[in-house]
């Protein structure tokens, strides 16, 4: 599974917010989309998910445009988790995760043994086994995020599109969730495209970064190339120092003006 986007332009309510974006993810890769608020990160993700019509450019998922695929077929290949997934109050974790089997169910069919197995496996991967009968409303932030990921995983996708999967989580739960995603990917699971607002985290988990600014790509490449003091200052208007952690990955440290 490879995803390739070329010259993507898209508008929200008549205002163009993506002005020709290129990016690509190879099979099994993890691309993090970073950039300041309003740079168009979430819009790019929705466009990649086929949920937004393009004004120009093309997106190819193994050569096919997701926006033109049959929706069921698309939902079997790619799963999308928005920044704040809707969590219907009345559902249990298991019922919610089973919604991920929707693209595999005929119009009248109830989820069968294979669907339950797929949902069970997804819940197991995301350490939700003890919570299957709990209502979504009783879950903590980290558990909710894992439930949303499990639903996406139950779709058995080849590509996982995650919009700010860790924005509501503390540092420990951020590492837990991103670690689980990375584990899946490493096990021959789906390729990942995620927006991430924390630059250091993005550099630690993704193997390539796309830095967006005002609807365009400001830089693209591995973390060492994208996370530089000059680029971050230019795009975010922020003063930072870039250090290295013990593994040699860049660590972005905000610095207060003297």
């Amino acid at each position: 599974m490879t995803l390739r986007a070329e010259g993507v332009r898209a508008a929200l309510d008549g205002t163009e917010v993506l002005h020709g974006v290129d990016c690509q993810v190879p099979d099994g890769g993890w691309l993090a989309v970073i950039g300041p608020n309003g740079a168009g990160k979430s819009t790019l993700l929705r466009a990649l998910a086929g949920l937004l019509p393009l004004a120009a450019g093309r997106i190819a998922l193994d050569g096919e445009d997701p926006a033109r695929m049959r929706r069921r077929e698309r939902a079997r290949r790619l799963a999308y988790v928005p920044q704040a997934p809707v969590m219907p109050a009345e559902l249990t974790v298991e019922e919610y995760v089973l919604l991920g089997r929707t693209p595999y169910l005929g119009p009248l069919a109830a989820p069968g043994a294979s669907d339950r197995a797929a949902a069970g496996e997804a819940m197991e991967r995301l350490r939700l086994t003890g919570l299957t009968r709990r209502r979504l409303t009783t879950l903590s932030g980290g558990e909710r995020q894992r439930a949303a990921l499990a639903r996406a995983l139950a779709q058995r996708p080849r590509l996982l599109l995650l919009d700010e999967p860790t924005s509501a989580l503390d540092v420990g739960h951020q590492q837990q969730v991103l670690g689980l995603v990375d584990e899946l990917r490493a096990d021959g699971g789906p390729a990942v495209v995620s927006t991430l607002h924390d630059l250091t985290t993005a550099g630690q988990y993704a193997d390539r970064l796309v830095l967006m600014a005002a609807g365009e790509v400001a830089a693209e490449g591995p973390a060492e190339k994208v996370l530089t003091e000059q680029l971050i200052h230019r795009v975010y208007g922020a003063r930072v120092e870039v250090a290295r952690d013990s593994t040699g990955r860049p660590v972005v440290i905000p610095v207060r003006a003297p």
């Binding site: 949920l51 069921r72 077929e73 698309r74 219907p88 109050a89 009345e90 919604l99 109830a110």
Partner: protein
């Protein structure tokens, strides 16, 4: 919801309907006791002879008047309840029912025009049916201009409803001698039901109900919202349109033969959700069973409370439904999630 509790709710609903039907066929103005009623009904089964000595007039009253009326009440109740539950699933709002897109006003206008024009027999239901469908078609056309949000559609329905009501008032104003007959229709009645009244709406009832029931699971998925449902492979707008059309067809079939009967479409699904949870897979069919039983009981009251006179059944459902509804609302902490 555990499996055991789920099964219990189904048993309760079936028992409620059977009890209501038994009550409906035995209570009434004829000399037949429950045992005789039972014998006459069993005698109708092919190959069974249990009739015995029953007065032929009583027998005819039971088979030609009371039985079709009870069954019609059950049919109308089931249709109104499932249509209401379908609309509530589409609009994700427990206070919506199948009259919301103007179908009641349309049916009212159709029936009024037919009655004022001196039509009789099945022409009135046919006109009401056509009026209901026309109103909803208009609301769908008006409401889906531009982006199809459900609130736009509801507002279009309100506008169409007001317009059709105004038209009806205008027609009625010029024909005051039909006033009583029109009002009697508007308040709803199952009096005079015979087997043709039962057969007429059946095809539309079956098709409409089948369309709604077939979307039960997909209505559940819509709970995650437009975009996520689309990312799960569904077409939310298409599902909403189909369910609205199916529910409208079912409700219009009911309204055409019974007049305007309120509250069933709101109270029954609401009560069912309280007992069985919010999944449409359970709510839609259970609403049919409970709605059927509820309307049979309401009709039994309507024809016995002031016997030999009759109360309009719409008055009975409102009188039973409003306090029940207030009670349900007061005992629901969340105010009733959809």
């Amino acid at each position: 919801m555990t499996h055991r509790r789920g099964r219990l709710v189904w048993l309760l609903a079936v028992a409620f309907l059977l009890a209501a039907l038994a009550c409906g066929v035995t209570v009434g103005a004829s000399g037949l006791g429950p045992g005789e009623v039972f014998r006459v009904l069993v005698d109708q089964l092919p190959g069974v002879h249990a009739g015995g000595a029953v007065d032929p007039v009583d027998r005819a009253v039971l088979l030609q008047i009371r039985l079709p009326r009870v069954l019609l009440a059950a049919l109308v109740g089931a249709l109104l309840a499932v249509a209401g539950a379908g609309y509530q699933g589409v609009f994700r709002n427990p206070l919506v029912d199948s009259s919301m897109l103007g179908s009641s006003a349309g049916a009212g206008l159709g029936a009024t025009v037919a009655i004022v024009a001196g039509a009789a027999g099945l022409a009135v239901p046919a006109a009401a049916f056509a009026g209901a469908l026309a109103a909803v078609a208009l609301a769908l056309a008006a409401g889906s201009v531009g982006r199809t949000s459900t609130s736009t559609l509801l507002l279009a329905g309100v506008a169409v409803g007001l317009f059709f009501s105004a038209a009806q008032t205008f027609v009625l104003q010029g024909a005051t001698r039909s006033l009583q007959e029109v009002y009697a229709w508007l308040l709803g009645s199952l009096a005079g039901a015979d087997w043709t009244h039962l057969a007429q709406p059946l095809p539309y009832a079956v098709v409409g109900t089948a369309v709604v029931l077939a979307h039960a699971r997909r209505l559940d998925v819509l709970a995650v919202g437009e975009e996520e449902a689309a990312s799960l492979g569904l077409h939310p707008a298409r599902i909403r349109l189909l369910v609205v059309c199916g529910a409208t067809l079912a409700a219009a079939a009911a309204v055409a033969v019974s007049g305007l009967i309120g509250f069933v479409g709101i109270v029954v699904p609401h009560a069912v959700r309280r007992l069985a949870g919010v999944s449409h897979v359970r709510v839609l069919p259970l609403s049919m069973l409970v709605g059927a039983g509820f309307l049979v009981l309401a009709d039994t009251l309507a024809r016995t409370v002031l016997a030999p006179a009759e109360l309009p059944i719409g008055v009975v459902t409102a009188a039973l439904g409003s306090p029940l509804f207030v009670w349900i609302l007061r005992t629901t902490r969340s105010g009733g999630a959809s």
